[in-house]
């Protein structure tokens, strides 16, 4: 194939994973004598060379602290750091760069909102609404806020198919509701939630909405402006980017009102022994030396996704998810949790294999080079609601192809042969 230029985008506006795979060095790795079949993308995704090289170059040629420096390196670092911020703002729908706060990840972004906006705006008898399918990151901060503020925490329930049940949304999101926090895509069930409907309802009663986009932004076209989300949060490492970097988008008006929760260098405009004033947005919320190399790496990650196009990525994942669901469905001892309609779900597939504990299954699959996750996937209440202690999860991304799914299925058949003899 060398020498022949192949298109990355193929018929039906889909990406071709086999071309993409070449950009990901780790996919050449052998695991236990097999090629790596990486199906743990909901936990973290792999990185293309362009992302790895950008960070390498940062440390080899441009490393300096940002903002406060007047020398060439400091200026280069600052320019790159801020240009990634502008790219992020563009990527999620063309918001203002000053509405983009760098954090360590989704978890920190949510905690920031719960602590700053939450403590200032949620009091006794107020209500916080989340859903039964939240990741611990979008559950525990609200649970703790509710306890501290003596507020109510209400859950939007899920139904048997793994969709949110919005029948009672008008009573759940009532006039006492101050904030609604909801994931756009479940990291266990794959469900894509109708966040627009929830936002509509919340805004009617004057509540603000935080959308957990950790599993959505990497996989779907997202426009926070047309969604009219008040806060939107995600992690770089789940979308080809580096570890240690995340994003909090917030509407300017809300961010302006909010008090910072971390104090130190860069977030101040004037400090005296007995007083301190805050810097403008977004710096007000970015105390201390940030993860500069991370911003260098995240830029090319966004470029890569933009080049492919989020529509084309989504189309690929719909096709592959549909294929995987079909193949898994053929195995009678496999039970799939979550929606079966690939148009209403992403490529996160949780399942269980009869008589095999998810840990054992993960170990067997690993012996074939297949990386899946086993456990409660940081959504223990949901997992328990499904009647399980843990499940196995395979999650897809742009470099996964049908071969990967076939390998998974072969692995399950082998595991079943090995363990099924009860």
């Amino acid at each position: 194939m060398d020498g022949i230029i192949q298109p990355i985008i193929v018929e039906g506006n889909k990406i071709d994973p086999n071309i993409i795979r070449r950009d990901f060095p780790i996919l050449n790795r052998q695991i236990n004598g097999h090629r790596l079949v990486y199906l743990d993308n909901a936990a973290t995704t792999q990185k293309p060379s362009s992302v790895i090289n950008a960070m390498d170059e940062y440390y080899r040629f441009h490393n300096a602290n940002v903002h406060r420096g007047l020398h060439t390196l400091a200026e280069e670092a600052t320019t790159a750091y801020e240009s990634t911020r502008a790219k992020i703002a563009e990527f999620i729908g063309g918001v203002k760069p000053s509405e983009i706060i760098y954090t360590r990840g989704t978890t920190e972004s949510i905690n920031l909102v719960a602590q700053s906006w939450g403590r200032a705006n949620v009091g006794p008898h107020d209500r916080i609404v989340i859903t039964q399918m939240e990741h611990h990151a979008n559950l525990v901060p609200w649970l703790m806020l509710a306890k501290r503020a003596h507020a109510e925490l209400e859950y939007i329930p899920i139904n048997a198919e793994g969709y949110l049940n919005l029948d009672n949304i008008d009573t759940i999101i009532n006039g006492n509701t101050k904030i609604v926090a909801v994931t756009q895509m479940s990291n266990v069930l794959g469900t894509i939630n109708p966040v627009d409907r929830i936002i509509d309802r919340a805004h009617k009663v004057g509540a603000v909405v935080l959308v957990d986009g950790a599993q959505a932004v990497p996989h779907l076209p997202v426009n926070v402006k047309s969604l009219d989300a008040d806060f939107y949060v995600f992690s770089a490492h789940k979308m080809l980017g580096p570890t240690g970097l995340g994003v909090l988008y917030g509407k300017e008006r809300l961010l302006e009102e909010m008090e910072p929760i971390e104090f130190g260098g860069e977030m101040i405009s004037r400090v005296q022994f007995d007083s301190a004033e805050w810097n403008i947005l977004p710096y007000k919320f970015e105390a201390g030396t940030p993860h500069i190399a991370g911003a260098y790496g995240f830029g090319p990650a966004l470029d890569y996704l933009t080049k492919l196009g989020m529509e084309a990525i989504r189309n690929h994942e719909i096709e592959l998810t549909s294929y995987a669901l079909e193949k898994l469905h053929e195995l009678k001892y496999v039970k799939i949790f979550g929606p079966l309609d690939e148009n209403q779900r992403g490529g996160v597939i949780s399942f269980k294999v009869k008589d095999i504990h998810p840990h054992d299954l993960a170990t067997v699959l690993d012996s074939y080079g297949i990386a899946v996750r086993a456990g409660h996937h940081c959504a223990q209440p949901l997992t328990n609601l499904l009647g399980e202690i843990s499940t196995t999860r395979a999650s897809l991304y742009i470099y996964n192809n049908k071969d990967d799914v076939d390998e998974l299925v072969k692995g399950l058949i082998e595991a079943r042969r090995y363990f099924g003899r009860v």
Binding site: H359, S367, H376, E414
Partner: protein
Amino acid sequence: MSEPLDELYREIIMDHYHSPRGAKKLDNPDISNEGKNPSCGDEIEVALKVGDKTIDDVSVACKGCAISVASGSMLAEAIKGKSLEEVKKIASTVREMLKGNQVELSEEMGDLEVLRSVNKFPVRVKCALLSWTTLIDCLESLENEKKTKTSTTE
């Protein structure tokens, strides 16, 4: 099936997994303790009936993976009827072995040797360890209780 896997899931392990010993919960245990692995949600309960310095009966209730179930079952088999002193020694020896430290098992602990292969699967070590650390907690509670008793009756 690949070889290292066969080493982990030996026949003896699978046998314990499919018919675990000591699985029936004791009615009135003298001591019992819960253990859990937070990252996977697995939980275990070890309960002991303690006679005159011996473990008269033991139950290990575990809804876990093959490794944790088998390890618990082998634990039940290995300590039943043994003196407290012996059990303490067995437990700490197995713990060291599972942690990858160089230890020799005595002849009568022979069966437990198969657990050593877990070392090749570092992420599974904690599955195998769970019942043993829970047992060690039981033994420590027992001892503290006794110490308290001693000090109060004197």
